[in-house]
Symmetry: C2
Subunit: 301 residues, 2 copies
């Protein structure tokens, strides 16, 4: 597991390359707008920390992702002058493929079921290093830097609401917060359609949901499930989970546009939807890479 010194060290490593996002007042609480990072998501923090600490970098890095992790690894690799190969499923929106290519990465498009296999093949062929999206200590420590910033900016914080899927973000943030301020509540947010962690915490053990069931949520970045590593952090540190409906998620997307002038993807608005139910606290807006045609439809409705 990671500990506070890992997160402090990550903060120093990534500081020159990430946006120091402010807290924005929002209704009775605050937003931490990680959608303002250069690739549009918090994922940049973990990817930058992992790349910076990578010893075996001569043969490049490999990642598999349909979303924000792809761009984060491509961005971090370019910054460190390391070649990046990104394996993306063939249902990835063209705009995300183009954005990843624009960051200088080599992109491999494969069937959704083949992506892990293909990534592992690239690792084997090239001697490259795999950068996983959440199941990695350096990635988790990078995401945890958000927790340090929240405590620095708002010493009176009572609760932090964090979206959960693979669990990398909340593992890092919860470790930072509970290490320094055990009195601050760390609350996970999940779509009702992908509420496997809520059920796991209830059961006291990791419960697996059918991936096809989880795939139904519009929060397409929250369709993953925890690893043993992230579950160890979650089960130790997370106080509670709030689940939100699809309607509540989309309402949070339009609410952020209307009242905070922020563009969030559905996954990025899940903690904001949960915050509305909680009635306060800091909600992490985790990403902003929404299909703008979808946003246009939501705003016109």
């Amino acid at each position: 597991m990671i500990a506070l010194p890992d997160i402090r060290s990550a903060a120093a490593v990534i500081a020159p390359h990430v946006v120091r996002t402010p807290l924005l007042p929002f209704g009775p609480g605050w937003l931490k707008p990680e959608n303002l990072q250069p690739v549009g998501a918090f994922k940049l923090r973990g990817a930058l920390n992992a790349l910076a600490r990578l010893e075996n970098r001569a043969h490049g890095v490999v990642a598999y992702s349909s979303g924000n992790h792809a761009q984060a690894v491509a961005f971090a690799a370019r910054l460190h002058g390391v070649p990046a190969a990104i394996v993306m499923p063939d249902n990835t929106p063209a705009v995300k493929i183009e954005a990843t290519k624009a960051l200088g990465a080599e992109v491999f498009i494969v069937g959704i079921t083949e992506r892990v296999e293909r990534a592992e093949a690239l690792v084997a062929e090239r001697g490259a290093a795999l950068i996983p999206p959440f199941d990695h200590l350096d990635v988790i420590a990078g995401q945890g830097t958000i927790g340090l910033e929240i405590l620095d900016d708002l010493p009176g914080v009572e609760a932090v609401v964090v979206p959960m899927s693979g669990g990398g973000l909340i593992s890092g943030v919860a470790t930072a917060i509970k290490s320094l301020r055990p009195d601050v509540r760390v609350i996970g947010a999940e779509p009702e359609l992908a509420a496997d962690i809520a059920e796991s915490l209830e059961a006291g053990e990791l419960v697996r949901w059918d991936p096809l069931k989880r795939a139904q949520t519009s929060a397409d970045a929250l369709r993953d499930e925890p690893s043993e590593l992230t579950w160890a952090h979650i089960s130790r540190y997370v106080d509670d989970v709030i689940t939100v409906s699809e309607e509540e998620i989309l309402k949070a997307v339009t609410g952020l546009a209307r009242h905070a002038r922020l563009i969030a993807e559905p996954s990025g608005a899940v903690a904001v939807a949960a915050q509305a139910k909680l009635g306060g606290g800091v909600a992490i807006v985790s990403g902003g890479n929404i299909d703008l045609a979808l946003l246009a439809r939501l705003l016109a409705a």
Copy 2:
């Protein structure tokens, strides 16, 4: 005219109540996203400074505005426990009227030509203080705090691009920047349809444009013209002006949505449109209160 100590003093006064906006990397330059302020515009800075320094506050404050200044004064007045009366023209979008009322202000709707007269009548009747949108030293000093923040965050800055209309924002920002760093270029941005300051700087004297002509730009917050006070600052400090077409303005609005996940109103994107022509520098995104139906149309196009 204002000077650096006025701006430093304003910074201390408003710091607890404004968002310390970060600089966001954007293409070859940076954005200063003032649309993330609580009322969605930089105007909050000047209004807060003016309210804080107001001696005659027992009888409340009065402002006339169809836009961001109305909400800024309402917000600042509520914070200081001072009653606010806001005179708005009858063509103000309902959403802005509701937002101003929601901040606790008393709103008077009048014909567009009657607003100054009605505001002055309220001042006379009540003994209230008028808070003008730009023709006021404390307002200008408040806006200037943006300049201090840019220099703090980016010591290597070469140019700052600032939207111009009444000139309060650029008067403050240019004073801050030229007082500390005369080598940094301060560049005004104007819609081609309201380029009276560009013409004035060319002529070396304040040139007045027909208000009906200026009213044609979609940048509805940039339809004002400088006062003698703001012109004194502009003519002394501003290096150059870049004018932008209506098409360039709307393209900047969609570019901010797509690449920076920020919602800007057309006026708020004018400096970004000018930045694209300059090829770098810091552009101030001055406001984000766009009609969301308009934004939806732009994003769907």
